[in-house]
């Protein structure tokens, strides 16, 4: 089978799964729908491997294949084909996306077992994977935008999966709105580039990359970055990610750790021939990535919601990747993308298991001493934690150091980023192990004791942990049954596999030893400048990374592990201002509120009061926010129902138009 055929089949499997589950899912009994969904993604994964095998059997020059299914729209200035680009980069992404998704589907088969929306969940999940695969396989800007928008829509569906939960719907809408902002950025960016290059095709655009430098290119690339930041939750478009933890845990694992949030990294890597022409745009990416990785880590230090800590950690790790690929460390960035997918999905899964054991409770304040009750979960959490903290020989150790190595090798002001990166690495280790020491060590909480006696804790009336309101179980709030990894084989298999991968995943690119990933991605990044850091720097980086990881774990142990975390309390009392600043997430939401929402609100209220009072006494039902609401009030106030007022506006408009022409003459 040729690589392109296999790649089309990679896309076809989840699409077929979506349609099958969407139309006939309800007719299938028991857990069959979940298995069907898993099988569809497994099919994808198998075809991705076949595509990989075929690609490797070709000569190095023939590893960029374009396959077009049919002409989508060929006319005038646009020439859009239904085409995919199969090259090492897209194959790598396909393998990671379909592989990790397959395991997450498997995990969900058990984890979501008690949910009333079981079929719906897998239909959405399959749709999401299809969109994500379309995004990475796209061979032109058009399909990229399509996949991009689909991913946003699918994430909205999944985040608001428990749609009777007000917090979940709000989080879904927030994610959707920010994603739409990103879509707009991407679309406009694509048009800017189209204007210069005259083609939407990736390879065609890249071929003329050197001729199209200039202001338009920089503007286009910065707009593309807006799209990338929105998807990858980079500052200032990051606020949706922590809120998105309202979705079911497998969703967090899938889209907020392994796939969707990495789309921005993929985009920058895919567009590397263009970014190399515009240093300004690349620098914007580098700096934003660095800021994000630092800020998110500091918030992660104090957040108390288990899933949110992991979410902030994701933001921070994506920051590393964005910084890396923007600074030219393409292979290293993608390497970290891959290892991160393994260990972060693993952490989310373990967290899901833990949350199940707590009966839906997510607050770290309430968890303690689960080590004996949940040995398997504990083990997985530790493996994920070690990889995230960057302790050798776990995968995260190699990939993070690789990024920082290339960034440091750039020299100049990139040295600041190098330092920030290592400082944050220390914080990463601290917040990761803070979770572990708080949740698994110390005196067991009642839920843990109950579990040790073989009972999973159940709450009689499920309440929303965020608001305390009672949950509507009709549309499937986690349901009466909870599933933990120790009791469910599918969850165990998924987590076990990921634990192994998180441990040994780094083997593909060990400095001075293996260069598999480098060689594999070579055809895509052939024309990118190569970095060749000195031996001293390599060893220094590795040693520093390892030392910081271990040091971080030790600090976490001293603060939270010893004596049931009394030091932590004292620390918080000693520095209340810092704690408040961090626990309020650097006041980002408030800042946006102050700068955008409030002025818009004032404007809106002004418009509402004046227009409404003067023109109508009617009530304003809709309007989303400030300015739009004011506009809506004004427009609808004008729509007064008075025929003569309509005629008047018509004639006023007429006067304006005529005046315009008279001024022209």
């Amino acid at each position: 089978m040729s690589a392109t055929t296999a790649a089309w089949l990679v896309l076809a499997c989840p699409l077929a799964g979506t349609i099958l589950l969407g139309l006939f899912g309800r007719a299938l009994p028991g857990r069959i729908p979940g298995l069907v969904g898993t099988a569809a993604i497994a099919g994808s994964f198998v075809f991705a491997i076949l595509a990989f095998a075929d690609l490797q059997s070709r000569g190095e020059e023939q590893r960029q294949l374009v396959s077009s299914l049919y002409d989508y729209a060929v006319t005038g200035s646009i020439d859009v084909q239904m085409s995919i680009l199969v090259d090492p980069l897209s194959i790598l992404m396909m393998l990671v996306v379909s592989g990790v998704s397959m395991l997450i589907h498997l995990y969900s088969v058990a984890y979501m077992g008690g949910d009333r929306g079981y079929v719906r969940f897998f239909a959405y999940l399959n749709f999401f994977v299809f969109s994500m695969l379309l995004l990475v396989a796209a061979g032109n800007f058009f399909l990229l935008i399509v996949g991009w928008a689909f991913v946003g829509a699918a994430s909205y569906l999944l985040i608001s999966f428990w749609y009777r939960r007000t917090t979940a719907t709000a989080a879904g809408i927030k994610a959707f709105v920010i994603n739409v902002v990103g879509d707009v950025g991407l679309t406009l960016g694509a048009f800017f580039i189209l204007k210069e290059s005259g083609t939407l095709d990736f390879l065609g655009t890249f071929k003329q990359a050197e001729e199209i430098s200039g202001a338009n290119l920089t503007a286009g690339l910065i707009l593309l970055l807006v799209g990338a930041f929105a998807k990858s939750a980079q500052i200032p478009l990051h606020t949706w990610l922590p809120d998105a933890m309202e979705g079911p845990t497998p969703v967090s694992a899938l889209i907020h750790a392994a796939t969707m949030v990495t789309a921005g990294v993929y985009l920058i890597a895919r567009m590397h021939p263009l970014f190399e022409q515009s240093a300004a745009a690349a620098d914007v990416g580098t700096i934003i990535g660095a800021v994000t990785l630092f800020v998110a880590a500091t918030i992660g230090l104090v957040a108390t919601d288990l899933k949110r800590v992991i979410a902030y950690s994701t933001m921070s790790q994506i920051g590393y990747m964005v910084m890396g690929v923007s600074a030219g460390a393409y292979v290293a960035g993608l390497f970290h993308l891959m290892t991160h997918a393994f260990f972060k999905a693993l952490l989310f899964m373990a967290a899901g298991s833990l949350i199940s054991a707590m009966g839906g409770e997510q607050s770290l304040d309430r968890m303690r001493g689960f080590r004996k009750a949940m040995p398997f979960t504990f083990l997985c959490f530790c493996v994920g934690g070690l990889a995230l903290a960057g302790v050798p020989p776990f995968s995260g150790f190699f990939s993070k150091d690789e990024i920082l190595l290339v960034v440091g090798d750039e020299g100049g002001w990139h040295w600041i980023l190098y330092v920030v990166g290592y400082v944050t690495a220390l914080m990463t280790a601290i917040y990761t192990w803070r979770m572990i020491f708080r949740a698994f060590f110390g005196d067991p909480v009642p839920e843990a004791v109950e579990l040790e006696h073989g009972h999973i804790h159940h709450v009689d009336v499920p309440v929303n942990p965020a608001t305390g309101e009672e949950e509507d179980t009709d549309v499937g709030f986690p349901g009466p049954e909870h599933h933990i990894a120790e009791r469910a084989l599918p969850m165990k298999i998924a987590m076990g596999t990921l634990a192994v991968l998180a441990t040994v995943g780094g083997v593909v690119l060990i400095p001075k030893t293996t260069t598999w990933l480098d060689t594999f991605l070579e055809p895509t990044f052939a024309d990118a400048p190569h970095h060749d850091p000195s031996d001293g720097m390599i060893w220094f980086g590795l040693a520093l990374g390892a030392a910081l990881g271990v040091l971080g774990i030790f600090i976490a142990y001293t603060i939270w592990g010893k004596a049931n975390g009394e030091i932590a309390v004292r620390l918080r009392e000693r520095m209340p201002a810092v704690h408040r600043f961090l626990i309020n997430k650097w006041y980002f939401d408030e800042l946006i509120e102050l700068l955008v929402v409030r002025p818009a609100g004032w404007f809106g209220r002004f418009g509402q009061q004046t227009f409404e009072r003067v023109f109508v006494n009617g009530t304003l039902v809709g309007g989303t926010s400030g300015i739009v609401r004011a506009g809506s009030a004004a427009v609808r106030a004008l729509q007064s129902g008075f025929l003569r007022a309509y005629a008047a506006l018509l004639l006023v408009g007429l006067g304006a138009v005529v005046l315009y022409f008279l001024l022209q003459a």
Binding site: V616, G618, R636, Q639, S640, G641, F642, L643, R644, A647, A648, L651
Partner: protein
Amino acid sequence: MNINWYLAVSALVFCIGAAGVLVRRNPLVILLCLELMLNAANLALIAFSRMHGNGDGQVFAVIVMVVAACEVCIGLGIVVAMYRRRLPIDVDEMRELHG
């Protein structure tokens, strides 16, 4: 005679018609004012026709007269239908639809 005078009269009639649509509340009078506006255009057409020395404008004007008659017919029909339903014959009272 200068064409400008015809145009001035035509524009004046048009404006009177437009003003009538704006200030009168009786649909019948509004229909009359609409007639004024159309006839203002007719006057302009005929004046231009004379100026250019071709017949196109006159043909146009004749057709406009037919069309104007049709419009008034429809308008009267609707007014009669409203009268039969004992609805007020006042455009300011028609405010069911708004917002």
